[in-house]
Symmetry: C2
DNA sequence: TATAATAATGGTATCGGTACCATACAGCCA
DNA sequence: TGGCTGTATGGTACCGATACCATTATTATA
């Protein structure tokens, strides 16, 4: 139906291979022939068939990015980072969404391997080795994003979840909170575990007894945040602060607190993990440990492209990006607030809190 | 490197075509042979090469979705609708992001045509015919999403922008507003024009003179909403209500109002167009004309799949989905509020406003 | 002038599947 | 027994592009 390289060749009175040379700017072609071929291409509206080319090359110049929730702005920001770097190097991107569902993830992996994508950036739905091994078995490079997988030799790009959680909780402790609950994600995912670990380290260093711990695992979505916040409120003594392990959990928690008639931060403090897009900065609100989402996408892609460029023998690398603690309203002030900071304007107030944090940690 | 169908055939002691029959469940294969082949597939970790298959079939079972801003939750919701329908029918999806940039859009179109995707769902960066014609010239079906393109025979799925804007502005008028500014998108995009048209119709029907109109075109992003809101505030008499033509514009406007020291809705009303995700419903806030984003994606994909299934001769169809007017806080109350509704609880209050709207329109 | 290097072009095989046609055998009916 | 149908399997060509090698004309070098 659509014209092939042979049709173009016939029309230009040359051999197919010559048309190929024109298209790819390879080999020798005279000015005159090139012009004739280019004219034929335009006349026939010829579009080269990448399938055939890829079949020959055994290279598709396509990368796959598999994330767990495309409606979460954190992941779309990561995706932009990946896409920008990929495009800059002439690669296309296939973006897939697993909903943290292993079956869906494995189905996508299969389809993508069949499509012979050149490389994978994978946010694993669960911190297990199988999916990564399945990819590596086909000699396709893969970079694991955001999460750790124990016992597998693979490149990883992730944030310092443990450290970020530690600093965030330490800040809450510095504000005077002694009853802090953590609303985490699935215990099968390393970030959820790491953030709990940071929380526990902060508590331990503050000399709080283990029974001060209030740990609620769940999933990384709004519903889970809502439910676990309600459960956390039941514990006695009632927590004076909640630490949500991602942005969606924080939103669910916020709704639960609202329904319980608790105001943030006056009645209870609420801090969260994750990058938050311009979206939620309508009123600068959440105190949080902000991940460098865009940069995560960039670094992961660069790493993958290096592998593709031939560094496939090198040792697996692990890149751990720092998280930025951003102090805003939701964490409230000192439980016994110094009068001096009562009515400062926003930015100065935030700066002051930052200064305090620096002093305290 | 990776095993081919021939390797599997050799190991199972059959011909390649027989392996093909096993994989595709086509033709006759004995139980015994099938078992041998399946064993060989597992042993060799054989993954069929879709490139070769697609080259032969001239079908890739891949659809392309081209949207203008992947960080806008409206579009990711649309994308989920598309993805779900596509997957249910065994199609993969390539999701591309143009940033409303025509050059980027055209580059993607070229790449995707070369990849021989089976069909396109396109949100055109500008309401012009060329990109659609370019796709149709290759005999590839395309559905235009969200926007109208004059003078092209093509399937379209969009929302009733004119009607939604009309109803939203009529509601503001019913509340007593007489100075309403509209902060719209690019005049090159049909939705931006349609929403202004609905605004004008509402004003005209209310008997307001043409010089009551305050129309500010811009782009569909936060920065534009911010700038145009500032400009709108300069006009005299100052508007008592702003109508933002999409969610991002509303957010930018909100920031501008905040900086100007104006509270919503006490000092000024603010309503907007677009679906808003769970995100912004933290505190039920925006009064808006909500598009059925997920459904838009679904319907567009169904239409496209019908074309692929052979309905390619049928007349082009245009599906116009209704928008839902959702009354929340940001529009405020009657400018001369009846005392009776002053302190109603939220939901009852909203219901009351809805009732009033029904009466008035 | 002979030889080599450069420029320009083409023939053929190949990537990994599958369509099409051919072959072979078993069982069944007239 | 011959002819037919259904079952099971394989050979060959082909999808569209390109690698590899070959060929020829032209120009540079010894």
């Amino acid at each position: 139906m659509s014209p092939t390289i042979r049709d173009v060749a016939r029309r230009a009175g040359v051999a197919p291979i010559t048309v190929s040379r024109v298209i790819n700017n390879s080999g020798y072609v005279s000015q005159e022939t090139r012009a004739r071929v280019e004219a034929a291409i335009v006349e026939l509206r010829y579009v080269p068939n990448t399938l055939a080319r890829s079949l020959r090359f055994k290279k598709t110049r396509v990368l796959a990015l598999i994330v767990t929730d495309i409606t979460n702005p954190f992941w779309t920001t990561v995706a932009r980072g990946v896409e920008d770097v990929a495009n800059a190097h002439g690669f296309s991107l296939i973006l897939c969404n697993t909903d943290e569902d292993e079956a869906k993830q494995d189905a996508y992996l299969q389809v993508l391997l069949q499509k012979r994508v050149d490389g994978f950036i994978l946010v694993p739905a669960r911190s297990i080795a199988e999916p990564v091994l399945a990819i590596q078995a086909q000699n396709v490079p893969v970079v694991v994003l955001d999460r750790q997988i124990p016992g597998v030799a693979v490149d990883v790009v992730r944030s310092d979840s443990e450290g970020g959680a530690y600093r965030l909780v330490t800040y809450l402790l510095a504000l005077g909170h002694r009853h802090i609950a953590v609303l985490s994600g699935p215990p099968t995912i390393s970030t959820a575990v790491d953030r709990v670990a940071g929380y526990r380290r902060a508590l331990a260093e503050a000399g709080l007894p283990p029974d001060a711990e209030r740990i609620f695992y769940g999933t990384y979505d709004i519903a889970s945040g809502y439910q676990n916040a309600l459960r956390a409120l039941q514990s006695t003594p009632r927590p004076t602060a909640l630490f949500a392990a991602n942005n969606f959990i924080a939103i669910g928690a916020l709704r639960a607190l609202d329904e319980a008639g608790l105001r943030v931060p006056d009645d209870i403090a609420l801090v969260c993990f994750d990058d938050v897009p311009l979206w939620l900065q309508i009123t600068p609100f959440f105190t949080m440990a902000s991940q460098r989402a865009y940069q995560m996408g960039q670094r992961a892609t660069e790493l993958l492209l290096e592998r593709l460029a031939g560094a496939d023998q090198a040792e697996p690398r692990e890149i751990v990006l720092p998280v930025d603690i951003v102090i805003r309203k939701s964490s409230g002030t000192m439980r016994t607030p110094p009068a001096a900071v009562a009515h400062r304007p926003d930015s100065a107030w935030e700066q002051h809190q930052m200064d305090r944090l620096d002093e305290l940690i």
